[in-house]
């Protein structure tokens, strides 16, 4: 049974590989059917909602304890438990739709717009919700300690924001139609806005929050338009109906839809893509994510590394059948992903703020995921999302712990020798393991397995150039990851004086992340304080989860199984070739990639070790040398993030602002004062030119009157005669 289905997959995949320009990969996958009795699934949404409301109540009633944190942890934990229960009870072969309540439901004649508030529970949803709620719970727990110095209204606000996020993310992932997804989509954007701007007195945080929301909105417009077009063409927004329509006749359906719909239909995937790129920080929208690091670190870990930013990947996997409405859609995704991965990696290599390095690495890794989707490996993408969620969460949380301990110090030129400081063991070694994962260290790291799938698929899909880019990026990733770890954790043991210096009497405003340190905390900042139980527990648990994920990733494993029964089915194992028996080693990318990728990763680590562990001053010398060489332009550009922010500012923001001012002036002076007031004053002005007639002099009145009478009499009596005359002549 499974074998025959696999065979059909393989056949379809074979077609795909040979006809790269028209990708009809639609395969049958089970479509959700409405079910009764699973209403309790709504608890996944209800619990965060309750947490949110309670946090609001706490804020108003002035709770000054950790109650908000425990409430949130409990609710999120409950949500996780519900998801787990759903997973355990779920029949992957038979996805279900759980209608909750009616949201938007319009109908007229034969048309309708229907967006019920329901849950679409298939394996993909459950996969995503498992790590979203799981990580959410853990990170909330972590934050209970991390944010403790803010206990009070701000604490409530923080956990309220986290609850909103989980609620919105739940809607996004579990919603059974595109509008519910959009609801969650904007909701997570708002949560992100609130949490990035958590330190609202800092203008940079406020600006970053604003930027995140606005840049996301650009993508959202694409998504919205995509949704309109989907509705227009397919007449529905519900996944179940959409999928049925898209796989009426297997692979042919999408092509038929594309043919019948004309250009409007074929741009749907591109519009959806725009939304995905915005939310997942891909070119050209990635600029908001690094700035989003203004938010507290747990937020960075949860929202801007592990969960929210993968919503774009989710969207594309969820609507994978629609990606085939245009042959160029998938390659576009792949190339954008690849380019983003490379670009972000180059920037990451040149940053000194460790959280920023992590941010760029997130952008870069998200690039991989999109590459995965683009090379028709939804499985690879989802796998990488899954593994990345854990190890990147660990990386951020360790960064956060360091920052928290060192009064906001994040500069890797300042931090060193953490390995030798008491109480930091768990941080150092979980960070080490997570770095291994990010660097793609062979066998024992989860990132190795998931990244391999994507890279191998790129080659197998006939995109060696893209795969090569991916490999290059992998090397860079390994380098900058370990650059951080070697710099921060290794090196000579710092004495108290060094530690005090690291505590940052001299750190710069820009890199100043002092959350967890309100003013009354400042007086004992001379010694770093090591993390306490909650942080250590969370780090350990997530690291264990990261290790555990290794066993879920390999081909034909659990993860592949989860994706294969969802809308992303077409991208699972699509490129497993039936290899001839005599095929050489290089014929199967899945075979050689394991070795090549390992090698590249190890080279990266080695370079990092040379520059930052064994010979710590070499890096500075290298930089100096490069700056003296003609390559200095590149180095400067990398350090300055390729000036993309400046470019956007100059090309988009400023012109718009100038237009705004200009239009305001036009509105005020041209339209209002000149045109409107001018027209309004016209009667008065004409009247004024006539007022010499009213000069008070009897004679002139008489003259005007007599003149007027004569004129009118002449006009009426003589003009018609003249006209007659002219008419007669003509």
């Amino acid at each position: 049974m499974i074998g025959s289905q696999l065979l059909s997959l393989l056949v379809a995949a074979g077609d795909a590989a040979h006809s790269a320009d028209h990708g009809h990969h639609s395969v049958h996958f089970p479509v959700g059917v409405p079910t009764e009795g699973l209403g309790y699934a709504g608890l996944v949404l209800a619990l965060p909602l309750i947490a949110m409301i309670l946090n609001g109540v706490y804020a108003i009633s002035g709770v000054r304890s950790k109650l908000p944190a425990w409430t949130t942890v409990a609710c999120l934990g409950g949500a996780f438990a519900v998801v787990l229960n759903l997973y355990l009870k779920a029949d992957i072969e038979h996805p279900v739709v759980v209608p909750l309540f009616e949201w938007i439901n319009l109908s007229w004649g034969t048309g309708s717009i229907s967006a019920p508030f329901g849950l679409y529970l298939d394996s993909l949803t459950l996969l995503w919700m498992l790590f979203v709620t799981g990580l959410g719970t853990m990170i909330a727990l972590y934050a209970s300690e991390y944010m403790e110095s803010d206990v009070g209204p701000a604490y409530c606000r923080f956990f309220g924001g986290v609850s909103i996020f989980l609620l919105a993310m739940g809607c996004l992932v579990m919603g059974d139609n595109l509008l519910t997804l959009y609801l969650g989509w904007e909701g997570v954007g708002f949560a992100s806005y609130m949490l990035i701007g958590y330190h609202f007195t800092k203008p940079s945080a406020v600006a970053a929050a604003k930027k995140a929301f606005i840049v996301n909105r650009i993508g959202d417009l694409g998504l919205a338009l995509g949704i309109y077009l989907t509705w227009m063409h397919f007449g529905t927004l519900e996944y179940a109906k959409l999928f049925e329509m898209l796989q009426v006749d297997g692979a042919v359906a999408a092509a038929q839809q594309a043919m019948s719909g004309g250009w409007e239909v074929s741009i749907i995937p591109f519009l959806l893509m725009a939304g995905a790129f915005g939310k997942s920080a891909q070119l050209p929208f990635y600029v908001w994510l690094p700035d989003a690091m203004e938010g507290p670190t747990p937020v960075s870990a949860l929202i801007h590394a592990a969960t929210m930013v993968t919503a774009g990947v989710y969207l594309l996997v969820r609507t994978f059948p629609m990606l085939e409405l245009h042959p160029a859609a998938a390659p576009t995704v792949a190339w954008v992903g690849g380019a983003t991965a490379l670009l972000a990696a180059t920037i990451g290599m040149a940053q000194y703020d460790i959280k920023r390095v992590m941010a760029y690495s997130t952008v870069s890794q998200l690039g991989y995921m999109f590459m995965g989707v683009g090379v028709l490996s939804t499985f690879g993408a989802a796998a990488h999302v899954f593994t990345h969620a854990f190890f990147k969460a660990v990386l951020f949380l360790t960064c956060g712990a360091i920052m928290h301990g060192f009064a906001g110090q994040l500069d890797l030129r300042v931090l060193r020798g953490l390995r030798h400081v008491k109480g930091w063991r768990i941080v150092v070694w979980t960070m080490f393991y997570a770095s291994l994962c990010l660097a793609g260290f062979p066998i024992i790291s989860s990132g190795y397995w998931s990244k391999d799938v994507i890279l191998a698929e790129a080659f197998a899909n006939g995109r060696p150039l893209l795969g090569g880019l991916g490999l290059l990026t992998a090397g860079m990733t390994a380098y900058y990851t370990f650059r951080v770890w070697f710099r921060v954790c290794c090196g000579p043991k710092p004495d108290d004086h060094d530690l005090a210096k690291m505590m940052g009497d001299d750190h710069h405003g820009e890199d100043h992340h002092d959350e967890g340190h309100s003013e009354d905390d400042q007086h004992h900042h001379h010694m770093p304080h090591a993390p306490k139980w909650a942080v250590n527990l969370v780090l350990s648990v997530i690291s264990v989860a990261a290790v555990g994920s290794i066993f879920l990733v390999p081909e034909h494993g659990w993860l592949e199984h989860m994706v294969a029964k969802s809308s992303g089915a077409a991208g699972v194992g699509a490129n497993h070739h039936e290899l001839p028996a005599d095929a050489g080693f290089w014929a199967d990318p899945h075979g050689w990639m394991k070795y090549v990728a390992s090698t590249v990763g190890l080279i990266g680590i080695a370079i990092a070790a040379w520059l930052h562990l064994l010979n710590r001053s070499a890096a500075d010398r290298l930089r100096a040398t490069l700056l003296a060489s003609p390559l200095k332009v590149v180095v400067r550009a990398m350090e300055n993030k390729w000036y993309v922010d400046e470019l956007y500012n100059a090309l988009i923001r400023m012109p718009l602002k100038i237009k705004g001012h200009a239009l305001h002036m036009i509105d005020r002076y041209l339209l209002d004062i000149l045109v409107v007031d001018g027209l309004g004053r016209l009667p008065k002005m004409i009247g004024r030119t006539l007022s010499p007639l009213q000069n008070g002099v009897l004679q002139s009145y008489a003259a005007s009157m007599a003149g007027g009478v004569i004129l009118i009499a002449l006009l009426i009596l003589v003009l018609p005669m003249l006209l007659d005359l002219i008419g007669g002549v003509a």
Partner: protein, 500 residues
């Protein structure tokens, strides 16, 4: 002939009353003298009632306009004339009466002019009423002159000082010129048709038009007659005197000038237009009316926009309203004239109300003129303030005040007769005029009271009239249907009587 006299009972009564009033005004008894205005007003109200009764008289009792049309017109003129007489209370001889009362000097009949003033007022109103019963050109001419001549005197008598005199000069001389113009027009009409009888002229005109077309002499006669009578209406281009005269005359006389000559002119237009063809006017007359209407309303509004003097401002407004009346006149007998009559009535009320407010106020015995003087009137004289708001709003045509109802009907009638462009122009004019009415509305409510406050005039009548009119403008629109239906019936019956 007796029927004809039967139809003129109110006018004859008023003439008698004029004599009586003139005599009583010289009485040595102060209370008798004081009763003169009330007597005048009472007489006018009775005359109005009598005139209304004339509807049922046989056609021979009325002039050229059918009794169904002339009766309500005459009643309206007399009725509003009565109100105007009340407003005029205390206008003349105030200084004299005060001196007599305080015993400074004995009463000298030679110096008293109250009786004459009200006698003139009655004569002028009688003239205006007679216009409505004109049956030939001579009558029309005499009636129009009877309307005008007393007003020239009233302007001088109403206000001592340079301004009254100047107003009188302008009014009289320009009026004489206008009279000459329409008189010449009458002569030409007579020349062209060979008859003084309006009914004969109408028949000749209509016959001639259906045969060979109207001759130039008659046409020119009609044009000149209409242009000249336009002076009474303050229709452009013979409107230039209006603002100066309105400013110069005392407020109560201005109220009079704003209504009685205008009513006479409107009725005169009706007579002439009916003679010229009624509902199917010669093209040249239509053109003339069209031009007059557009010019009058536009020039009036534009002139009013410039003003800082309330009296001049309402002078301009009065010109503009003549423009609207001309639209109704052009719209023809029937619906058009019904709307015109209603509009004239409403306009008479609004206009009287506005000037009554001005007449009810003074500052150390002299007139209140500037718009800014009315600032904060709501606080100092609430009733007058609100009356001014109601009257101004009604003049603006603001719903649901009476002016709005009248204007809508006028527009309906004009559209019905095919003058859509005129309606649009009138709409734009209303909008342009709204600015100064709005100023007059907001000044009493929101404006700053002048540092030199205004006080109430000694006579209570103008204030009472203003209040009643303000209230009427607010209330009557909800109960105006009977009035409108009857007006329409009157016009419709007239059309039947005209047979076209």
């Amino acid at each position: 002939m007796v029927e004809r006299l039967n139809g003129l009972v109110p006018e004859m009564m008023l003439l008698t009353l004029a004599v009586v009033v003139a005599v009583l005004g010289l009485s040595r008894t102060a209370s008798v003298r004081r009763a003169v205005p009330v007597l005048t007003a009472g007489g006018l109200f009775i005359a109005a009632w009598l005139a209304l009764g004339g509807r049922d008289l046989p056609p021979e009792s009325a002039g050229f306009l059918a009794p169904s049309l002339s009766s309500p017109l005459r009643a309206m003129i007399a009725g509003i004339g009565g109100v105007l007489a009340l407003v005029a209370t205390g206008t003349v001889d105030r200084r004299l009466e005060q001196d007599v009362e305080s015993g400074k000097m004995p009463f000298e009949p030679l110096r008293a002019s109250r009786g004459e003033f009200f006698a003139f007022l009655l004569l002028s109103i009688t003239g205006a009423m007679l216009v409505a019963s004109a049956s030939d050109l001579i009558w029309l001419f005499l009636a129009l002159e009877l309307t005008s001549l007393p007003t020239y005197v009233m302007v001088v008598m109403g206000r001592a000082g340079r301004r009254g005199a100047e107003a009188s000069v302008k009014y009289f001389f320009l009026g004489a010129m206008a009279t000459a113009i329409f008189l010449y027009g009458f002569a030409l009409i007579y020349g062209g048709t060979g008859s003084m009888q309006l009914a004969d002229i109408a028949e000749i005109v209509s016959n001639r038009r259906s045969l060979e077309g109207l001759d130039m002499v008659t046409t020119a006669g009609f044009l000149l007659a209409l242009l000249g009578v336009g002076y009474k209406l303050a229709a452009a281009p013979l409107h230039l005197y209006a603002m100066d005269v309105y400013e110069g005359a005392s407020a109560s006389v201005t109220a009079f000038l704003g209504f009685v000559p205008k009513a006479a002119g409107t009725v005169g237009f009706m007579v002439l237009l009916q003679t010229a063809g009624g509902s199917s006017l010669p093209a040249m007359v239509v053109t003339l009316m069209w031009m007059l209407a557009v010019l009058t309303m536009s020039l009036g509004n534009m002139a009013a926009l410039q003003q800082t003097s309330a009296k001049r401002l309402f002078g301009g407004s009065s010109i503009a309203h003549s423009g609207y009346l001309l639209i109704g006149l052009l719209a023809g007998p029937g619906e058009g004239w019904a709307a015109t009559i209603f509009y004239l009535l409403v306009y008479g009320l609004m206009n009287t109300g506005v000037f009554a407010v001005l007449a009810a106020l003074e500052r150390r015995g002299s007139e209140v003129e500037q718009v800014s003087d009315l600032g904060g009137l709501r606080q100092s004289h609430p009733a007058l303030g609100w009356s001014l708001v109601a009257c101004s709003g009604s003049l603006m045509g603001f719903p649901p005040l009476l002016g709005f109802v009248a204007k809508v009907w006028l527009f309906l009638a004009a559209v019905q007769s095919g003058h859509i462009a005129l309606v649009v122009i009138a709409a734009i004019n209303s909008a342009a005029g709204a600015w100064y009415y709005l100023r007059m509305m907001s000044m009493p409510l929101l404006g700053v009271a002048p540092s030199d406050p205004v006080e109430a005039a000694p006579s209570p009548w103008p204030a009472r009239v203003a209040m009643v009119i303000g209230l009427l403008l607010l209330v009557v629109p909800f109960f105006a249907d009977d009035l409108m239906t009857q007006t329409r019936e009157a016009a419709a019956n007239a059309v039947m009587a005209f047979g076209n």
